[in-house]
Subunit: 187 residues, 2 copies
């Protein structure tokens, strides 16, 4: 549980005993490459912290086309967080793109800690803020940045993503064609 403790410490200060008690309630789980972790249309009741591996979130639209919406790798939290918060069927599928080990934080455990713990609320606030910024920036970048700028931002945020993810998924994430993506990479 070393990695998730370090991730929490980036959000807030935490004395060692409280931290150990806090993480003791969570368990690990392993998913194989290509395995679906969470299916679109199903209520999502967990937040996952990635110890090792890579997860893709995608949505199948009204016409049956698949859109890659975001990626998450080591030391990041991932969830269909809207479904988690609202208890409504999720609009994302989550898929392991490599053999992946996660720490599973269930809704019941998280909700319980919010009732009593200042630290849990601080962490919950910071995680919600973090994902708010990520989604807002994603919407705004489509208006305010060129595909090349968005490609470079992705490479900066997730350094070796281009070696780990099929090109058609990267193109889908960037909302450009595969041909456009190869042209950008050739620059």
């Amino acid at each position: 549980m070393k990695q998730i403790k370090e991730a929490f410490l980036q959000f807030i200060e935490f004395d060692e005993d409280s931290m150990n008690e806090f993480v003791s309630r969570y368990s690990k789980k392993v998913f194989s490459k290509k395995e679906i972790i969470q299916k679109q249309g199903v209520v999502n009741d967990s937040v996952y912290f990635i110890n090792k591996g890579l997860i893709r979130a995608f949505t199948t639209d009204l016409d049956g086309a698949e859109h890659t919406c975001f990626f998450a790798m080591e030391n990041k939290f991932v969830s269909d967080y809207t479904s988690f918060l609202t208890n409504k069927p999720g609009s994302y599928s989550l898929q392991a793109l490599e053999d992946t080990e996660v720490v599973v934080m269930s809704k019941d455990e998280i909700t319980e800690s919010y009732g009593t713990s200042l630290e849990a609320n601080m962490i919950g606030r910071k995680i919600a803020e973090h994902y708010f910024i990520f989604f807002d920036t994603r919407i705004q970048d489509m208006l305010l940045k060129t595909p090349l700028e968005r490609y470079n931002d992705l490479a900066e945020a997730l350094p070796n993503i281009h070696q780990r993810v099929p090109q058609h998924m990267l193109a889908s994430y960037l909302n450009i064609s595969a041909v456009h993506l190869s042209r950008i990479k050739g620059i």
Copy 2:
């Protein structure tokens, strides 16, 4: 300050003395119809709670075209929250579409309360979650809902928006043409 107290009470329980102390630090401000409250490119250091009126957020894209991104009316919080959280120049302009009265919550006041107050962190967490859900749903609805469904959702969330906002701004928000919007309204 009656309205903002009621809004806070929808998020969490709050005893009257703590609540009065909590809201006493905030002040009111009035904006005229068409006034720009916050300008794209400038760091935003406030969250506004709307007592009366209507505010539009819009972004001017790389080609100089204006996109209406969201609306907020009475009893809602509004901000360029990414800019507020990151201290980076904002990507939204906020404009009053009617004479508008707000409660201004400054970054300094909010940050101070996060250091000590469980309630402040709960409220901060719930506001961040609320806006996360709003932005995530907005992205996903573009993939998963028809323009008619999105039009009806907007009418449900902000009941009299169609009488209060120029049609071209509504069309821009829905990401459809003004002609498409009149066709939908004719159904």
